[in-house]
């Protein structure tokens, strides 16, 4: 039987997604001159051509990195939203390596990405240590760090990386050796996808199969219990922050080297916050990050195409996201149904 309590969370997430899509359709029907056509564009345009499918996959790559990063933090019961600032700052670091150093086409991107990831890990450790040792609220410190990292990153971009010949806030061109290879012809899908999928797989095995993952899950489920069982939760919290920062940093570095030939971000790109949404949809399961990231990328590309080809603006997508966040965080949503299932399984009814 599919409709039992064990599948409750999956069914609930699915229901949330369907409801938010229905609300989107409703809004489209109200504001569009040709609602059916617009909905068609929104739903099917992302898979109509190879290049559009490519867009979806390209966009899902950074989401996988930040999503996985946030999943690890959330699972440890750490409400840290610092992936955003780290993603940006690591992109700055990777860019400077791509601009200022020379190496062959294998080592150059590897070094650049690792540099971004390591810097990300170290930066992430700061709120981690503050949390673990002095119980500083990680939400507050990580959000403050987003501002700090953005400010410092923008300064570096403006004063050390900026190409004086360009009119906008953009860096010198990367050396071609630093850029990631396209792996699917006809799209811009780059080798970062392979790294992302490997990271997700590693994250899954780490979380469910290793003793460190076990420590992480127990610390997240009940820190006091973990402590009393003899787990050093201070160490666990710092470790999780290091890994999460590494992943977010890697995501930023790979995004900038895979998709662009110069760094042009004059504002935070938003992938860190989207990572929280991905984690929410993935129910804090590493393996589900792939599906969640693809889904989010899909509706974003759909919305982009819709804005281009119809009379409904892309901001429509915010409504879908808002409904998803609202319903998924609403613990009581569909609980009545679960209760009925439980009573039935306990044999009260029928």
């Amino acid at each position: 039987m599919i409709f039992n309590t064990r599948n409750f969370e999956k069914i609930r997430t699915l229901a949330v997604v369907l409801i938010s899509l229905l609300i989107a359709f409703l809004v489209i029907s109200i504001i569009s001159e040709h609602p059916l056509k617009t909905i068609g564009i929104f739903l099917f345009e992302p898979i109509r051509t190879v290049s559009h499918i490519g867009n979806v996959v390209e966009m899902s790559i950074p989401l996988m990195f930040t999503g996985l990063s946030v999943v690890l933090l959330f699972r440890t019961n750490l409400f840290n939203l610092g992936a955003e600032g780290i993603f940006y700052f690591a992109a700055v670091v990777a860019s400077s390596v791509a601009i200022h150093f020379a190496a062959n086409a294998f080592f150059h991107p590897v070094v650049a990405v690792l540099a971004g990831a390591v810097v990300g890990a170290l930066l992430s450790a700061i709120p981690g240590i503050l949390k673990a040792k002095w119980n500083v609220n990680e939400l507050v410190s990580s959000l403050m760090f987003n501002s700090i990292l953005f400010g410092v990153g923008l300064y570096l971009l403006n004063y050390y990386l900026r190409d004086p010949q360009s009119f906008s806030n953009s860096s010198y061109k990367f050396r071609p050796s630093a850029m990631l290879d396209v792996i699917v012809p006809g799209t811009r899908i780059h080798s970062g996808l392979i790294v992302a999928l490997l990271c997700v797989a590693a994250g899954h095995y780490f979380m469910y199969r290793t003793k460190w993952g076990y420590e992480l899950r127990m610390t997240g489920a009940n820190r006091e219990f973990a402590e009393f069982s003899g787990i050093n939760t201070t160490k666990v919290i710092i470790m999780v922050h290091l890994i999460a920062g590494f992943l977010a940093g890697m995501g930023g570095s790979i995004e900038v080297l895979g998709m662009y030939n110069r760094l042009q971000w004059a504002s935070l790109p938003g992938y860190g916050m989207d990572g929280a949404l991905v984690a929410l949809l993935a129910k804090n399961n590493p393996a589900s990050v792939i599906g969640a990231a693809l889904f989010l990328a899909y509706i974003r590309i759909g919305a982009d195409q819709m804005a281009r080809m119809s009379d409904v603006p892309a901001e429509m997508i915010s409504i879908i996201q808002a409904v998803i966040i609202l319903l998924i965080s609403a613990e009581q949503f569909l609980k009545f149904w679960k209760n009925r299932m439980l009573l039935k399984e306990a044999g009260v009814r029928e």
Partner: protein
């Protein structure tokens, strides 16, 4: 039925975490009776009472008061309809006086202020009427547990309670206090009040109550006139089989000392001396019982023993190593296992699976790992063995532990803590809030460990349990060792009660025999 004062029909309750606490329960209360609700913990007694008092709303079913349908959305609704409740954990403001607690939320007014004279008069009048004597101007934090309970009862009466629900009122009382409570309750009954008495102590139920409703696994097993059933019959209906709380244990030769506590003292942040020169020793294969009214130093003692009471003076030796302030991890490393009192906070992670909860103290050991990965097959096998051996009622090792009843959850914790062949086990209220069947199983497991040479410190508020299991016994009063008995089998509960209340105290020399090396 016109004779029932309050009736609950077909009540079901599902908690948000998915626990089905009540399933189609029927309950009826006659005017002017003392009605016992008995059942193992996790049988759904407390849930049923919470719904009667408006703290929870039933998922299904209806409630009739004097034949009319009622629905309590909050305790205020229940109070307005004349239902009062005395909780297991008192709902009083410790820093307020008795009078202030009594009138909280219904203060008699004098202009803009509170009419204190009137408040005190009302309190005195009520306490005289029902023979519940308390000092109206004492601060609640200075009162004994028994006194606090009286304040709770008075509070409910002042709010016009005709039906009074008492949730395990005797769990925290000494035998003497219990007797006094029973006299007062009988008086209340004569005055026309109806009392619901929740308990799992059958002896008390037999002496006090008129009728009994027996609950098991969220359902009612039946309603009986107390006179018509024996204790054995009740317990059989509660547990589904006969139980005996009597164990044969062999006297054993003295083993090597494992734990030695010398001159342990601690002064808390408020400047109160909560541990005062505590000395005792425990040997291999020996169970030391620690009795005492809650709040007489037990909590601090356990903290010190598990290595997280910074600021304590004196020494604690576990097999030759001093453990003071080392932290629980280091203490566990010496072969100490610990069954904490608060199983939801320190004993288990309720969203994690049974298997995850079983391995939490051992996961890092080599035998549970294969290369970088945990040996899942071995852990699963161990979990299955434990579930079978401890008769843990569940769907399998992967079920969330939070879905289990209190007793089954406690079995998981005991299984975990006892199976690492510990040298010393600190068991803090190992059977509190656990049904008789589970308690029996846990007791047997403790005795098995004793057989294998483990030293055990058993802290419990259940005197029966302490007396039955311990090889020797100390009583804590006001942070110090008030008495030591090297053969508890000859000690009566009443005698223990005298020491627990501080009415008697052994000489330093006598009590000092607890430190026997």
């Amino acid at each position: 039925m016109s004779e029932s004062l309050l009736e609950m029909r077909g009540i079901s309750k599902v908690y948000p975490n998915g626990v089905v606490a009540n399933a189609g329960v029927n309950f009826s209360l006659r005017e002017g009776e003392i009605h016992a609700v008995v059942g193992e913990n996790g049988a759904g007694k407390s849930t049923l009472m919470k719904m009667m008092f408006g703290m929870e709303e039933p998922s299904e079913g209806e409630m009739l008061l004097r034949g009319e349908k009622v629905r309590f959305r909050s305790p205020q609704d229940a109070i307005d309809s004349g239902v009062g409740m005395v909780h297991q954990h008192f709902m009083l403001v410790p820093s307020f006086t008795v009078v202030e607690n009594m009138i909280l939320g219904m203060e008699p007014r004098k202009g803009l202020g509170i009419n204190r004279a009137e408040a005190e008069r009302v309190t005195r009048e009520l306490s005289a009427k029902y023979n519940l004597h308390v000092d109206p101007n004492a601060r609640v934090e200075d009162l004994s547990v028994g006194m606090k309970q009286k304040v709770e009862i008075l509070k409910a009466l002042l709010r016009g309670a005709q039906i009074l629900i008492l949730d395990e009122p005797t769990a925290v009382l000494t035998p003497q206090e219990t007797e006094e409570l029973f006299r007062e309750l009988k008086l209340l009954k004569q005055a026309g009040h109806t009392i619901v008495f929740i308990s799992h102590k059958l002896k008390e139920v037999k002496t006090l109550c008129d009728r009994i409703t027996i609950m098991r696994a969220g359902r009612t097993e039946g309603v009986f006139e107390t006179a018509s059933v024996t204790e054995q019959e009740i317990s059989r209906l509660m547990v589904g089989r006969d139980v005996v709380l009597k164990y044969d244990k062999e006297k054993k030769a003295k083993g090597k000392p494992v734990l030695a506590v010398r001159d342990l003292a601690y002064t808390n942040a408020a400047g109160k001396k909560t541990l005062d020169r505590v000395r005792f020793a425990v040997r291999e294969g020996h169970i030391l019982g620690i009795a005492g009214v809650e709040g007489n130093g037990q909590a601090e003692l356990v903290k010190a023993l598990t290595g997280h009471l910074p600021g304590a003076t004196g020494t604690i030796d576990v097999a030759g190593s001093v453990v003071a302030g080392q932290g629980i991890k280091a203490v566990r490393g010496l072969g100490v296992a610990y069954i904490p009192e608060d199983r939801m906070r320190q004993g288990a992670a309720k969203e994690a699976s049974i298997a995850d909860n079983l391995i939490s103290t051992r996961y890092a050991k080599k035998e549970w790992n294969r290369g970088p990965f945990l040996d899942r097959r071995r852990i699963a096998q161990m979990s299955k063995d434990m579930i079978e051996r401890f008769k843990i009622r569940c769907k399998g090792p992967e079920q969330e532990i939070g879905m289990l009843s209190g007793g089954n959850m406690q079995k998981v914790i005991v299984a975990r803590e006892s199976s690492a062949s510990p040298r010393l086990l600190i068991a803090e209220q190992p059977t509190r809030g656990v049904d008789v069947g589970a308690a029996q199983l846990i007791h047997q497991r403790l005795l098995e460990l004793r057989e294998q040479g483990c030293a055990i410190v058993l802290l419990s508020a259940d005197l029966n349990e302490v007396l039955e299991l311990s090889d020797s016994l100390i009583v804590l009063y006001n942070g110090g060792v008030a008495a030591y008995f090297d053969d508890p089998s000859g000690v009566s509960e009443e005698k223990l009660g005298l020491y627990m209340l501080g009415l008697e105290q052994q000489s330093e020399e006598e009590a000092g025999k607890a430190y026997d090396l």
